[in-house]
């Protein structure tokens, strides 16, 4: 199943429970605290089709409540060149 991966030009650093991601070598650095960092890591760790359900389970909420937020956020990461949707 196709998922996401970090873009070749992206770097990531985890520091004290916060995820920092940046396009290299030009920047800038994006700060992904809380659930935002969790979504990035989870997006790179399984199929795209179940991402919303996995995040919902980890945060103990109804998937439909967060679907638009999660999908919009991941779309933003792709648009910024930080994540790449893998082709199956």
């Amino acid at each position: 199943m196709a998922g996401y991966r970090l873009a070749d030009a992206a770097g990531v650093v985890e520091h004290e429970d916060v995820v920092y991601v940046a396009t290299l070598p030009g920047g800038p650095i994006a700060v992904l605290s809380g659930v935002a960092g969790l979504i990035l890591l989870e997006a790179c760790d399984g199929p795209a089709t179940t991402l919303v359900e996995r995040v919902a389970e980890l945060t103990a909420v109804d998937p439909e409540e967060i679907r638009a937020h999660v999908e919009g956020f991941v779309g933003d990461l792709v648009e910024r060149g930080l994540l790449v949707r893998e082709v199956s």
């Binding site: 520091h15 290299l24 070598p25 030009g26 650095i29 994006a30 700060v31």
Partner: protein, 293 residues
């Protein structure tokens, strides 16, 4: 998602900075070794001290090319080799996302010709991952040598580093370090930090490392630097340079481009401050004895 440099901790920014420089070097096909700060092997820096900037040692033949590549990639020149440090070894850049970067064309204390010294370190390079990018670093023994040589330039001496990487090292590591110090011809500077500098009293670099490692007036440091220069030509160049105003430092201190008036005032101020230091130095040496006598 927030993007604010204020909220990015320094160790995080420095990891990205190292990764960014490595990517610039990879794209341009240039050789760099990451040194100091977050690039140091954790075994050598158990406290995890990250430093305050990114430091890389560049193959001397690649210095001009990395300068061009960095400027094209968004780094701006902050201070030059000539004016950035009294040793003339490093040039500083500033990037809006990664902060300060020092590129070193050689490392103070190493007397082996810079290209050969770089090759010696490059032959035994290791790799570490910083922000997801594979970065080349010197071997742990070479990193230890660099940390001790770096400590030699601090009047306070980064004693914690010297203790960890040298005094507390096991016999095998000390043997590796000693052998490398010999191959790099770095015995005098190494002794200035690790101990035993007096064994080199007759060496032309002895006064320089004595004053740099133990502290002294600016005038004393300049005299020692002139005496340590390897040739008459180098000595003359240093003599000619000593009284000049460092316009880059002055600009950073003032926070603006200095005017001709600022430079003139600074030029007039320096000899006076040198005389003041000289008087204080003489007083320290002879004053109290005169009082006692």
């Amino acid at each position: 998602m927030s993007e604010s440099e204020v909220t990015v901790p320094l160790p995080v920014r420095l990891r990205f900075g190292h990764a960014a420089v490595q990517q610039v070097a990879n794209t341009a096909g240039l050789d760099v070794l990451h040194i100091k700060g977050v690039a140091v092997d954790p075994e050598l820096r158990p406290t995890g001290y990250a430093g305050s900037d990114v430091d890389v040692l560049v193959r001397p033949a690649h210095v001009a090319a990395i300068d061009r590549a960095l400027r094209a990639g968004g780094w701006t020149l902050y201070s030059t080799f000539e004016h950035g440090s009294p040793f003339g070894h490093a040039q500083t850049y500033l990037h809006e996302s990664w902060g300060y970067l020092d590129i070193h064309r050689y490392f103070p204390g190493i007397r082996l010709e810079p290209e050969r010294a770089f090759e010696l370190l490059w032959e035994d390079l290791h790799r570490i991952e910083l922000a997801g990018t594979s970065c080349r670093v010197p071997s742990p023994a070479a990193q230890a040598v660099i940390l001790v040589l770096n400590a030699a330039r601090s009047a306070k001496g980064d004693r914690a580093d010297v203790l960890t990487v040298w005094s507390d090292a096991d016999d095998e590591r000390r043997e590796e370090i000693t052998e490398l110090v010999g191959r790099l011809h770095a015995e005098v500077a190494f002794a200035a930090a690790a101990g035993g500098l007096e064994r080199f009293r007759d060496d032309r670099e002895y006064p320089l490392w004595k004053v740099v490692s133990e502290g002294g007036s600016r005038a004393a440091e300049w005299w020692a630097r002139i005496r340590a220069a390897p040739s008459a030509r180098d000595r003359l160049r240093l003599v000619a340079r000593a009284p000049r105003v460092n316009v880059e430092h002055l600009a950073h201190r003032l926070g603006r481009t200095p005017s001709r008036w600022d430079i003139a005032v600074e030029f007039l101020r320096r000899p006076l401050s040198g005389v003041g230091e000289g008087v204080r130095s003489l007083y320290r040496r002879f004053g109290p004895r005169r009082v006692v006598r």
